[in-house]
């Protein structure tokens, strides 16, 4: 790790960009897929790119264009988009202990996605304080740019891609669950976490299959949190009995 710290001492933003490259494996396919879906939903390429640049939140963007295209009330589209993104409220406070006093941080929070959070949560504590802003700027802005570029590619070349490879639109969205899977798996660290996470995944899946797609995320997370607390109470009760 000291090697990483030394190598990033001169240009931490460059190190951030380099370390964000693996994120592109998940970002670009999903962004291309979003570009395609947006065009299919009746948006223009410029509109798709602007939505990606401004909202910059994968799952909610799919929901946004889908609901807008289906003619849902716009207030409901905004509420559902924000409801999906409400999970982001837990990310920045988790990073806060390692953020410096710079005024740049608030602006950079626009780029704090699931994947950038996962990367930053690992790397920021390992970096010297003076390098954190540069590193985060490089990683987060590079990921943002790749998301915008991927959307543009999907939107502009989408028709041709579909014509040449008709199954592409069906296959590429799998990047999304694959990415979430990779973010969740390392958290199966204890029996308690494993139970809570498994219950959350299964209940979200069941709710989606039965048609409660919009409620699935908050309800499933609430189920998981209850399970997490229930296991804690049970362990505490067991401990009390042993005493």
């Amino acid at each position: 790790m000291s090697q990483q710290a030394v190598s990033s001492s001169q240009r931490p933003w460059l190190t951030g960009m380099r370390e964000a490259i693996p994120l592109l494996g998940g970002y670009v396919p999903v962004a291309i897929s979003f570009g395609l879906v947006a065009i299919q939903s009746g948006f223009s390429a410029q509109e798709a790119v602007l939505i990606s640049a401004l909202i910059y939140a994968g799952a909610s963007q799919f929901l946004f264009v889908g609901m807008a295209a289906a003619g849902s009330p716009l207030w409901l589209v905004v509420v559902m988009t924000l409801l999906i993104n409400v999970r982001h409220v837990v990310y920045a406070p988790n990073l806060a202990p390692w953020l410096t006093a710079s005024r740049g941080w608030p602006w950079l929070m626009h780029a704090l996605t699931d994947q950038v959070f996962a990367l930053a949560h690992t790397r920021l504590p390992q970096l010297p304080e003076a390098q954190r802003l540069g590193w985060f700027s490089g990683a987060a802005l590079f990921a943002w740019a790749s998301w915008i570029a991927g959307t543009a590619l999907g939107a502009l070349a989408g028709e041709e891609l579909i014509a040449r490879w008709p199954l592409l639109g069906e296959v590429m969205p799998f990047a999304l669950p694959a990415l979430f899977l990779v973010l969740v798996v390392p958290r199966f660290t204890t029996r308690r976490w494993s139970l809570a996470l498994s219950l959350t995944i299964l209940s979200a899946l069941a709710l989606t299959v039965t048609g409660f797609t919009n409620l699935a995320i908050p309800l499933a997370a609430a189920c998981g949190a209850l399970c997490f607390q229930a296991v804690k109470c049970r362990l505490a009760a067991k401990g009390a009995r042993h005493e």
Binding site: G25, V89, V90, F117, A175, A225
Partner: protein
């Protein structure tokens, strides 16, 4: 795109930014106020619990295929297994996603040839 839809885009964008930004400002104030040596101790416990659970819920919803037929579910299972296998070997973010998409795609393509 109509002006109403543009307003919806901007409202979603500003709202999403605030969801990311305001908790950071709140936590910074809390850290300053409590003046803990270890900032992690000042973090409410529910924050550390909800983060992973929200991502798990997203995983659950995104696993459901567009068409609920046997082939799509089989492709999903194979894709998940491929993702897990490559993650187990590499412990990275990018390669497992690429492998998962490739495996999912291979099943879909094979099925379209055979049927």
């Amino acid at each position: 795109m109509s002006s109403a839809l543009w307003i919806a885009v901007l409202a979603s964008a500003v709202g999403t930014l605030l969801l990311r930004l305001l908790p950071m400002l709140w936590m910074r104030r809390r850290l300053k106020r409590l003046d803990h040596d270890d900032g992690l101790e000042a973090m409410p416990q529910w924050l550390g619990i909800l983060g992973p659970l929200m991502i798990a819920a997203l995983l659950g919803t995104s696993l459901v295929p567009k068409t609920l037929d046997g082939i799509s579910w089989l492709a999903t299972v194979i894709g998940v297994l491929a993702t897990l296998a490559v993650w187990w070997r590499t412990r990275t973010l990018g390669w497992p996603v690429a492998a998962g998409v490739a495996a999912f795609g291979a099943v879909v393509v094979l099925a379209s040839w055979m049927l």
